[in-house]
Symmetry: C3
Subunit: 205 residues, 3 copies
Amino acid sequence: MRLRLRPTEDTFYDLFTESATHLVNGARLLAAMLDVDSDRPAIAEQMREAEHQADETTHAIVRRVNSTFVTPFDREDIYRLAGILDDVMDFMEEAVDLIGLYEIGELPAEFATQVEVLQRAAELTAEAMPRLRTMKDLEEYWIEINRLENQGDRSYRRILAKLFSGKYKALEVLKLKDVVDALEHATDALETVANTIEQIAVKES
Amino acid sequence: MRLRLRPTEDTFYDLFTESATHLVNGARLLAAMLDVDSDRPAIAEQMREAEHQADETTHAIVRRVNSTFVTPFDREDIYRLAGILDDVMDFMEEAVDLIGLYEIGELPAEFATQVEVLQRAAELTAEAMPRLRTMKDLEEYWIEINRLENQGDRSYRRILAKLFSGKYKALEVLKLKDVVDALEHATDALETVANTIEQIAVKES
Amino acid sequence: MRLRLRPTEDTFYDLFTESATHLVNGARLLAAMLDVDSDRPAIAEQMREAEHQADETTHAIVRRVNSTFVTPFDREDIYRLAGILDDVMDFMEEAVDLIGLYEIGELPAEFATQVEVLQRAAELTAEAMPRLRTMKDLEEYWIEINRLENQGDRSYRRILAKLFSGKYKALEVLKLKDVVDALEHATDALETVANTIEQIAVKES
């Protein structure tokens, strides 16, 4: 049997992986929500549950920082990373919530591209989290997140152009813009997660 | 006569309490502004004055940090806390300003709930500030602010649903949404104040 | 011949000056974009190029932090300052992009005041950057940026009042408000640059 010398550290990496896994789940629910024939109230309920679980994980990270003497990297960086991961979930939940709240019917097809970018970025983030332990092999993750964020940005601007093309009434534009803004904020926050990890990696190297 | 060994520290707690007291005043003015029969230009003028005083307090905190050798907690945390308290005031002032600027008539009744939440959260914040000295008995404050923020969030979403129900014209929706967004940002910023204090308490304990 | 003992530091100041010089260029392109008879697609293309160059400078700063043992001030402050300078450019580029994307015709005359403020603030920032080396003679820069931000704020509110005066249709208001918000965010971010430099100066003094 091998002794585990730094058991508390393992748990931080596990918890960050758990946090990012909630985001994969959230992005999947968002994709399901786009289908107008889906059971939207049921999906919204699952999203609220996912957001609640993400909150629990965030609090578990904060509690662990508070009760641990030696943390694997700076306490403030742990708070910051946990906080931004939580922000991503809040934006995803906001998008799902607004689709229900505004009683939006069919969403323009361009929204699917935006959500695909978000789903892929969430998956990459969850895959990268266990690598925080060694802070190695993260370059590909940073490059790909950056590429996805650029793709998401182009998709976002295409949606804006369509919304303001004159095809939609002002009130409809207002509703759809709130949803697409929430999606864009979620994608941006995933890029901030990647940038934060890059800064931590530099400090710890 | 008792010697005061750490006179500079007292002043930091006093200044933070002063900063939060400006917010109690700001929230009270906001509540008064909701009444369409009130003297709105006079209230807006008082709000500008309150915001100006809050700026003065923020600058007094910054000046004190710069001229003090030993601060009661990290300099950067003092800046951060002072900055967020100042943000709350800016959002309140923005809400009052927009009501006048957009020449908004009667505000939907749901806005009163939103402002009540803000008022209660500002009062709790002001009451908690003197407890920074010992960093004790803050749990109740954190729990209650969190509960209020959730209540504020539900109220915010109810207002959005009403604004987009088809009862209001697009231009009216745009105006009212700017006001309710400013109120929501003020409530969120008060939660950030509480979270910041929690992080400082953890570091200092 | 004089030996340069701390050659790496020079480069940080040079790079920050370069970063702020991109903003002067960006603000100039924004001013050109306001003229409805200008070659807007060409200006938008130049703006994308300016934003790309600003990204390069930001990455050069980050790479230099990562490869330098002794930095002239805290690593995290360098990241923060580089990040906010980059934000200013992103907001400028967003404004130019939206004018094209929304196919906006003539912009209300008040937008020119907003852009003039931005242009002057960018110039002041670029002029202040070489003074980071000694952290002296920065007071005037902070005071003037603060004055400009207040002026920008008044201009912003005047534009909002005009947009909601009933003269514009809801969809037009939505478009113009997105542009003016991007300009306002750029001005606010330049104030954050000044505040960040003030905090660094305090820490290093």
